[in-house]
């Protein structure tokens, strides 16, 4: 045979069976211990530090290519980009004027009701690493880990809306489960009428489904779904998706509703990992702890001049929490 040197013709593999049984028992033991008891996390974290260089080595050519493409982009392309971004910024600032008024109103109303507002108070930007995990599960690897204060269950957003949540934290990286993973469900609310339900992943990044709505439910194509904040995992009011199709079969008791996710699940490269309450933001990295000191009162104070009749340009310098990410980037 071409491929083999036949250099080991003796055929003696002393103790093959013994070694096979030993290793198999070891592996079985690992599976059982890892599944039943959660105390292998340290070993796993330690092993992942060993695996990190391999992942980094695979990722670096792609990161280098991105960097190269950015640094050789032409003047025209940059100018075009600049003009587009300016236009987008103008539009965003236009929306912001209303947002601040609404925000202060919400804070006042919630204060009246004695409600604790679960608004995301701090963000850290994480880059998706160009590394493929299991092909059959909707997961991505992000370059922030326990080192940056990331915790399991942390909500993850992108520029469009809710992206997923942190499923596993290693020392330097963490694994994010997408809202489109078949094992993921997120409590949502229809923005138009407040109807609450649960959006479940399908394994397809362009589709979620609402399996628990009765056929009589008031849902139409184009309805915006936002997080309801129930369950406490996600901050309330962030867009999850829009209803793309509603099928009502009179013979069934439940409607068949398809949702198109608001986040660019298959295209985003930068994600925002969010902290819900100031108390969770404190033990993380010390440099970013200050912006989250007392968000409610800070925002109420910031909104006060607007009520007093200050013109919108003056209020532009005040940033709401959603526009904070570039400033909150950890070192």
């Amino acid at each position: 045979m071409v491929a083999f040197r036949n250099s080991d013709p003796s055929g003696r593999t002393s103790g093959l069976l013994l070694r096979c049984v030993l290793y198999s028992l070891l592996a079985l033991g690992l599976i059982i211990v890892d599944k039943r008891y959660q105390n292998l996390a340290d070993i796993r974290r330690w092993l992942s530090i060993v695996a990190y260089p391999a992942q980094l080595a695979v990722e670096s050519p792609f990161a280098g290519w991105h960097w190269f493409r950015e640094s050789v982009s032409t003047r025209d392309a940059l100018r075009e980009d600049n003009a587009r971004l300016r236009a987008e910024l103008r539009l965003a600032q236009f929306h912001l004027q209303r947002y601040e008024a609404l925000e202060s109103e919400t804070v006042r109303l919630r204060a009246l009701r004695g409600n604790t507002s679960e608004v995301a108070t701090r963000f850290v930007i994480g880059d998706i690493m160009d590394v493929d995990l299991d092909a059959f599960r909707e997961r991505v690897l992000v370059d922030k880990g326990a080192h940056d204060g990331i915790f399991v269950g942390q909500p993850v957003l992108d520029a469009g809306g809710v992206f997923g949540q942190v499923a596993r934290v290693e020392e330097l990286t963490s694994e994010v489960i997408l809202i489109s993973d078949p094992a993921h469900a997120i409590p949502v609310q229809i923005n138009r009428n407040g109807l609450r339900t649960i959006a479940v992943g399908t394994g397809d990044t362009s589709r979620l489904k609402l399996p628990y709505l009765p056929t009589s439910a008031d849902v139409v194509v184009g309805d915006l779904l936002v997080t309801s904040g129930l369950g406490g995992g996600f901050p309330a009011g962030y867009p999850v998706g829009t209803v793309a199709a509603v099928k009502r079969d009179p013979a069934q008791s439940l409607a068949d509703v398809d949702v198109r996710p608001a986040a660019a699940l298959d295209r985003s490269r930068e994600l925002m990992l969010a902290w819900l309450r100031p108390s969770e933001a404190l033990p993380a990295s010390p440099s970013a702890a200050t912006p989250a000191a007392n968000p409610a009162s800070a925002r109420a104070a910031a909104a006060a001049p607007r009520k007093a009749g200050v013109t919108p340009p003056a209020a532009k310098s005040v940033k709401p929490p959603a526009a904070k990410p570039p400033g909150a980037r950890t070192p």
Binding site: R12, A27, L30, V33, L47, A54, D132, D134, F136
Partner: protein, 158 residues
């Protein structure tokens, strides 16, 4: 041969590392399901070529690396790879004199067994992947086996 052992471990570790890197290299989603288990094929090759240089240890370690990188329950790939590498070692004398086609068919059986153990542990640990696409990888693996064995044989001769 005993005197060859230290020389032989070098290409072994090198090829395993390259295969591990190729296992996580990003591919378009449409191609991802066809990604062959290269590291598994490499482990099979060394189990057949030089069983005394520690093929089973390589199998166990590679399996652990795959577990950590894929983020699945620790020991899953390690168990599957150990069992299948032991089987490949058991079959090695026959495999060496097989024609390329018979070799590929045997490798297909081994890869399918490997996938089946993964499938079974996935189910037993409560996150079953029932997609039919997971059975594509053994087919692709069996098809590229002659190329891989040739390349590794060349590497080993140097």
């Amino acid at each position: 041969m005993m005197r060859d052992d230290p020389i032989r471990r070098m290409p072994m570790a090198l090829s395993a590392l390259v295969a591990l890197a190729l296992a996580v290299i990003p591919l378009p989603a449409a191609l991802d399901v066809f990604r062959p288990d290269l590291l598994v094929l490499v482990v099979f090759y060394w189990s057949i070529e030089s069983p005394r240089a520690g093929g089973l240890t390589l199998a166990f370690m590679s399996g652990l690396a795959l577990d950590v990188i894929n983020g699945v329950v620790l020991g899953q790939h390690a168990l599957a790879l150990t069992l299948m590498a032991a089987w490949a070692t058991h079959l090695r004398l026959r495999l060496r004199v097989f024609s390329l086609l018979s070799q590929s068919l045997t490798i297909f059986a081994l890869l399918t067994g490997y996938q089946f153990i993964l499938f079974w542990i996935d189910g037993a640990t409560g996150n079953p992947v029932t997609s039919f696409a997971r059975w594509f990888a053994p087919v692709v693996g069996a098809i590229i086996w002659p190329l891989l064995a040739g390349a590794l044989g060349r590497l080993n001769e140097r």
